[in-house]
Point group: C2
């Protein structure tokens, strides 16, 4: 196809849009790919829609190749199935809810677990029917609190979601593996730089879970990776490396010290180091106990929770929340402290907590045999050498402490470094939660019902347009990988002479005849304007039909490397076809 | 591609679904193409989605070929643009409205006039930018009062909508003509039997308007066509053929008669024919006056409206409404009559109406010089020979009378016959309504602003799946035209012998290698079940790998004609390729 810029519905902008902060947002708007309609709601203009469709086609081809079957659910859904799984309520304000003319409750689908489960239940009955993997590529709706960065986090967005249905855990593991391998192929074809990180399963429940994160500086997800292996994980999913437990036999007795004016870790450490105790203390030797309250879903009452962790670490709220999900968690307020006089602020120790029945979870580093300086449950007093497993036994451990660069990698190889990314895919073993809630079983060979186990797999298709733009751009504009570019070649007629126009048209026709997608700049604009637009739009190969023509050559420019090659005019078509076909 | 029925997500049903009344609905559900999720809201299973995508591809190819450019708007839209055109209110209960988490008003797009207009306004400024035609293929939402017939009238449905933007009326006419020709190509490629009918423009405003109606007995639109020309029109759009006006000079005087017990046309005609007036009367000689009340959009008060039409015709409510749009109309209630004592029920005549300032519109057949028997505004009295243009002058004419088979065709050739159809497309000259409401102008060559004139063009893409099924089915199942079938050929392995299986697999591979889409029935089911399913599913060519194989032949069956041909086994692939390529 030849797309003529003289009639293309495209007007590029010289200025960044006022509401744009990240490069992809600025460039996709400036280059005329998308336009904002409402917060997190965008229109796709011709070039943007082409990139979107090319990405969608790659996703579809790989899903089909793995044997998944495409179906399509409505976006407008009745309340009932979501009521059955409690998600009508659990989704909270993220769900777009509406009523129809008869007052019936509807929602705009944020994900379609319920529909997939019910549909398989409707068609399949026997164990012989399984396994099956189904997918759809469809607009999803989430009323994000903070839609941002253009199409990177929208409220209406295109997603590929798929589900696997298996009879056994081994079957699920195989389906999961197949999806994971397919995602690797998809993201590789799209030219993305990404890591696969271990993830917590979050509100969805389930077991094995990995996220595909594209590495971009503006990513809103922080993850860590090992310096010495391919280990990578969401910060929420990092498992703390605990030291081995030690023998408590020869450890010194715990001793309470009067430590006036030491309400903070820093003042405490300073005090201890000046107290002549015969050794040097650091914040890592102290055990601080932080009070929260938690509430299980549906429960009325809050419960106290104390988290004990080394004094040199802060609580990472996201890790804490992920560990406690689906329960809510909040910091303890003054009023709560007042109700529990045994909580002596600044001097809370394990004893008062355990004696008063407060649930007490500690950092995994607090293993048996570790000795701590901690609160003595009395103003201006701390206890030194309080030994875990001897002097106190917590109710369990919790992953709540911040993860730091330099921490040992959980796989034992190297240390952790931090990086930022954007989630582009998620594969995850959902298990039997939805099958149980909605009654999806198969009649087994022994005529007994078998509850189906499910996997859930998602790719943010429209988001990928922005993610690729984040990874492929420079100061002048977008730099599309060949597989997703809105055209294969951008032919610029750089001048008003009829010979240039004729040569440009002829080249475009030759390329078109060979199946090459041509963007032809046949406008009356100046060569300077056209070159700027070509850089901004970002088609990988640019052919300049300009001054060189008099000498029988055209300039072929690589957008990414800025390499310019002069090619004899009658060889240009073959040259470009060679580039396009790779 | 080879689609194996042993793993295809498809379970056919032997029974019609309880809620289905029309053939397409029954068959699309039974053959596993669609499933109901809520009233007017359906899921597409694999075979259904393939047919939908093939139709979509044909629509897209023809739209691209005519030079329209594809874009995509969100379905979730903010209220403001629809407020500017008053459609937020005018749409009434047909619009799905919702609020976001911040209380902002949103809607699910029923049509996108506002967005198209505003988007062109955002990108284009000069007369040199025009003309342009833009389209999208996208899910639309309408909260139909009576969703029916499966996907034939859904509340979420896929639509191709396009708009043309021109500087001049001539430009609009050309864009309209191009769209109309493209629609003819699309519907022809889809194998549809359809007519193009003149339509009223309805609530949308505008001038020229034509509907593409697929002819099906279950259609909800009645239209009429000429017995002698290609004239066809929506009943609402039929223009009554009026007789020529006559000279009033020599006509007899109007005379009031005492006509006791004649409150109906029938009793009146009987009375007159027994009254010795020297001529024979029929209902067509009487003029009945029917009282309505109308209210303009936004107005508080209702206004009286009297419609006068020949006594042998009833009012067609849809024609009346179409004539009065956008005003509301309702029949006059007893209470209203009580308020206006000059309205003598059963005996209302033009005089009292005109004397009392009631708006009085008559059927176009009531031309100057026609003489009527009508009410004398007094109980049990009628006036005979009341002559239009002499004894009364109505306020105008109105198209409100029913159209009957046998009426003269408006183009003067032949008479009208009635038929039923379903709207599959609509082309129509919207004019400057939206451009004016939203300020879409171009700077003309003289630096003065030119208001853009628009055309609006729609095709119900998902509906077409059902419409084609209505036109292409028989008692055994669906009979898809080749261009939209979910596969090119259905290969049935009719038996459990390994030789049959091997031959079926080999044939499928050979066909696949030549680019033929194969549906391969490799299930363990009996041949009888497989044949029934093949008929139900409706792929145009069925190859039976069965008993004939022993004699070196396979049976190739045409689904539509039931023609069966025995083809030597090593020629079957070439034979089928020939059928597929046409």
């Amino acid at each position: 196809m030849i797309t003529r810029m003289s009639s293309l519905f495209l007007r590029t902008l010289r200025e960044d849009p006022a509401d744009a902060e990240v490069p992809s947002h600025k460039l996709l708007v400036r280059a005329g790919y998308v336009r904002r309609v409402a917060p997190g709601v965008y229109s796709w203009l011709p070039l943007g829609l082409r990139v979107l469709r090319r990405i969608e086609a790659i996703v579809r081809a790989e899903m089909d190749a793995m044997g998944a079957q495409e179906i399509q659910f409505p976006a407008l859904l009745p309340r009932e199935p979501y009521e059955a799984t409690n998600r009508w309520t659990e989704y909270g304000p993220n769900l777009f809810r509406l009523k129809d003319r008869k007052g019936g409750d509807y929602l705009l689908g944020p994900t379609h677990e319920e529909l997939f489960t019910l549909t398989v239940k409707g068609e399949y009955a026997s164990y012989k029917d399984y396994p099956v993997s189904l997918y759809q590529i469809q607009n999803k709706y989430r009323d994000e609190a903070r839609p941002r960065a253009g199409i990177l986090r929208g409220r209406e967005f295109l997603m590929k979601d798929s589900y696997s249905f298996d009879l056994t855990d081994e079957g699920l593991a195989a389906s999961y593996g197949a999806h994971r391998a397919t995602y690797v192929r998809i993201f590789d074809r799209l030219g993305l730089k990404y890591v696969i990180v271990k993830a917590t399963s979050g509100a969805m429940g389930g077991s094995a879970s990995e996220e595909f994160l594209a590495e971009v500086p503006i990513g809103e997800d922080t993850f860590v990776r090992s310096t010495a292996s391919d280990y990578a994980a969401n910060v929420e999913a990092v498992v703390t490396t605990a030291p081995p437990a030690r023998d408590v036999a020869d450890l010194p007795e715990a001793q309470v010290h009067h430590t006036p004016g030491t309400p903070t870790i820093e003042t405490l450490v300073d005090f201890l180091n000046q107290a002549g105790l015969g050794r040097e203390f650091t914040a890592a030797d102290t055990l601080k106990n932080i009070l929260f309250k938690t509430r299980k879903p549906g429960a009325k009452e809050w419960e106290l929770l104390a988290v004990g962790l080394p004094g040199d670490r802060e609580v990472d709220t996201k890790r804490l929340e992920a560990s406690l999900e689906p329960a809510e968690v909040a910091v303890l307020e003054e009023a709560d402290f007042a109700k529990h006089p045994f909580l002596v602020k600044g001097y809370i120790g394990p004893r008062a907590l355990l004696d008063n029945g407060v649930r007490y979870l500690v950092d995994p580093r607090v293993v048996t045999g570790t000795a701590w300086v901690t609160g003595a449950d009395k103003g201006d007093h701390h206890v030194v050498d309080l030994v875990a497993g001897r002097d106190f036994t917590p109710d369990g451990t919790i992953e709540a402490a911040e993860v730091r660069e330099g921490d040992p990698a959980p796989d034992g190889a190297g240390t952790l470094v931090a990086a930022r990314g954007i989630e582009i895919g998620h594969v995850f073993q959902l298990g039997r939660k939805y099958a149980e809630a909605l009654g999806l079983t198969a009649l087994g060979p022994d005529s007994k019902p078998v509850t189906i186990t499910m996997g859930s797999y998602g790719i943010g298709v429209s988001r990928l347009v922005a993610v690729i733009a984040e990874q492929y751009h420079d100061a002048a504009g977008l730099v599309w990988p060949r597989n997703v570019a809105p055209a294969d070649v951008h032919v610029v007629i750089a001048g008003k002479e009829e010979t240039l126009r004729a040569a440009g048209e002829k080249l475009a026709e030759e390329l078109h005849a060979q199946g090459v997608e041509v963007l032809l700049d046949d406008r009356t604009a100046s060569p300077g304007v056209k070159f700027k637009d070509a850089e901004l739009i970002g088609v990988p190969t640019i052919v300049v039909v300009g001054r060189g023509l008099a000498n029988g050559v055209l300039e072929v420019k690589d957008r990414a490397t800025d390499t310019r090659t002069e090619v004899p005019v009658d060889e240009v078509a073959a040259h470009v076809v060679g580039l396009v076909r790779g």
